[in-house]
Symmetry: C2
Subunit: 163 residues, 2 copies
């Protein structure tokens, strides 16, 4: 069971957008260049982030993306859900209600033990990701990145046509 790498791309894009000066934005092509990822696929991810209200774009040829809300109001879980959808990892097909032991559906407890345990684990996962926001990740990125990488990133931002 593996997460799409588009979640990783989307998270890093959100972090970079959080580091832009106020009012600035970057196009899909610029975000793709900065992260070394394929532009057309990244554009799809950015559209998913837009549909989820995480980024906003200016229309037109100079249109770029910016965060649609404060970076500390966007969690890593929000980014995951935007890309992968909010469906559960575990989807119960109620196999306890099949086969020779089955009785009328209404007589079973609402949730069997297997499904209950799976969903409890999933809630623990979601709660952990919900505690991490893009503002903290952005601050951590600047603090942890090699100083030369930060300097190169800042120089790159100065050279691109930031809209």
């Amino acid at each position: 069971m593996r997460m799409s790498e588009r979640v990783e791309w989307a998270a890093h894009c959100a972090v970079l957008l959080a580091l832009l000066p106020d009012g600035r934005s970057l196009t899909a092509a610029q975000l793709a260049e900065y992260h070394g990822v394929p532009g057309p696929y990244l554009a799809k991810s950015l559209q998913a982030l837009m549909q989820a209200g995480i980024v906003a774009s200016r229309s037109g040829r100079s249109g770029g993306y910016r965060l649609a809300r404060a970076a500390d109001a966007v969690s890593l879980l929000d980014v995951f859900d935007a890309i992968e959808g909010e469906g559960a990892f575990f989807r119960c097909t109620e196999i306890r209600r099949r086969g020779p032991s089955r009785v009328a559906a209404a007589r079973y407890t609402p949730v069997c033990g297997v499904a209950g345990a799976m969903w409890e684990a999933e809630q623990a996962w979601r709660a952990s990701l919900a505690r991490v926001n893009i503002a903290d990740l952005a601050a951590g990125t600047v603090a942890d990145a090699p100083p030369e990488a930060v300097a190169k990133g800042v120089r790159w931002l100065a050279t691109v046509r930031v809209t």
Copy 2:
């Protein structure tokens, strides 16, 4: 990101095997019939459980499956890992090391913030599933199932050729 339904099948098979009298086993076809799932696909799952040391089989035509160890020594996480493999949901492709800001790989921290947060959430998920064992699920199944379903299950077990 969705889990294979074979995890659900495998967990319910392990629960049923935990409820068998000592020394008894069930064939793949019997396990498939009881759970109303496709036999050939279930056989693949049972082989994965066997490779993980969760079930054991007797060879030959009468060969059936039984738990290979005590039911309270098999966690729901063990079952998941047997079916889905132990790889992480999130696999970091180190996109921070690409693009115009990149510097030599050795200069980066071992784990970036995005990957660290993803893996921490995953550890919470794994810890939750590791706390649930097949013995508890089996006891819960008997306690929670409609009494008529338990009776029908017991009658079915008495009619099949339990090896």
